[in-house]
Amino acid sequence: VTNEQAEFADFFRASWEPCLRAVLAVVGSPQLAEDQVAEAFARAWGSWRKVRRHPAPRAWVVRTALNTGASWWRRRSRELPLDDHSLTASGDLTDGLDASLLAALRRLSPRQREVIALRIFLDIDTDTIARQLGIEAGTVRMHLSRGVLALRRELTTTKNHGG
């Protein structure tokens, strides 16, 4: 085993779950998320000399996974609103996930979900997210703010209903 192989193996084992959960939060289907993340890690190994020098290699994996799995529709429009064949429609996520959070995520745009996923699962700062997504930091903050607002609203509703 070469040093490169050992390095990648360590990266893979440590990063698989957070990357998978980040992708899952965006795509909604565990099966699709696993497929896409596996493909992204394979590509990461195929370009490891580049990826290992990336400022946020986990974010590279997540971005690659989402690009890999994007349908030919969504490849042309990352901002298509989440409709009934993505998150929640299959029920894939309903086990173990708060219904209120699910509803909140469903109402977010894919980009908003991606920003939130990168923040909460990969703990990436705003500037790095902006560079990774090729958008302005202010746009990241806007997505994050709106996403948090939606999540908070759901949490508030739940609390009120629950007494």
């Binding site: 190994w45 195929g46 030919w72 042309r76 739940t158």
Partner: protein
């Protein structure tokens, strides 16, 4: 005032993370498998013959024109035919998945589609049949919302991956996508693959006298937006 009002943004995100983290997931695949997959992909990119193939395909496109069948026909042969360049698979719900890996043998793809109950015409773009006319609502709109309702019905969204290996089989009582609401139409999502483009056709969603046209290229990984076209003898051959 309630507890949520007092939550900071960070608290909200932590609550979201904790909730999402409760979704049970399987463990990671074997790293050797992942590395072998990545290695194979890298080698494919480096093989001179393969590079030549991709270069040759760069200026080419493939047009797949499918005539809406009068009715569904049960496949009379094996449901899946696996070839190097492409795969045509009849899914459990009657839809047809076309996976293109290389822009080769359009005649074979045409014959296979027809044998699977889908009258089809397949040509390369350099020989594109200019007699095909676009069907109303069958032309993709501009971003950010390119898909019309007709296009999204004809090309169901859930099939954004490659149905690799054995044909998909029903798994339980649910699936994502519009067809999930049709009793008896249950299909497992296809597996994803690499270096391929997949188009799934729901023949029953095509209007009468209409077909679809798919333009792919450069490279099999870049399937363009398919269109619905009028079916005609000149366009589809029948």
């Amino acid at each position: 005032m309630n507890a949520s009002d007092d939550m900071s943004d960070a608290d909200v995100l932590i609550a979201a993370r904790d909730s999402l983290s409760r979704v049970p997931l399987g463990g990671p695949p074997d790293v050797e498998t992942i590395m072998a997959r990545g290695r194979a992909r890298r080698e494919r990119m480096l093989i001179p013959g393969m590079t030549g193939t991709l270069t040759a395909a760069a200026g080419a496109a493939i047009a797949v024109t499918v005539l809406a069948p009068a009715s569904h026909q049960a496949p009379s042969h094996r449901p899946t035919l696996q070839l190097a360049a492409w795969t045509v698979t009849r899914l459990a719900d009657g839809n047809i998945a076309v996976t293109i890996r290389e822009l080769k043998d359009p005649g074979g793809l045409q014959r296979t589609l027809r044998a699977d109950g889908v009258p089809a015409s397949v040509t390369f773009a350099s020989q594109r049949n200019m007699a095909c006319r676009r069907y109303p609502g069958g032309t993709p709109r501009q971003s950010p919302q390119p898909g019309t309702k007709l296009l999204k019905r004809v090309f169901p969204e859930p099939y954004n991956g490659l149905p690799a290996g054995p044909p998909p089989v029903p798994r339980g009582t649910r699936r994502s996508g519009p067809l999930a609401r049709r009793p008896g139409h249950v299909t497992a999502p296809p597996k994803l693959s690499q270096n391929s483009s997949v188009m799934v056709i729901d023949p029953s969603a095509l209007p009468s006298k209409a077909g679809v046209q798919l333009v792919a290229g450069p490279g099999a990984h870049a399937v363009g937006l398919p269109q619905v076209v009028y079916a005609s003898r000149q366009c589809t051959g029948s």
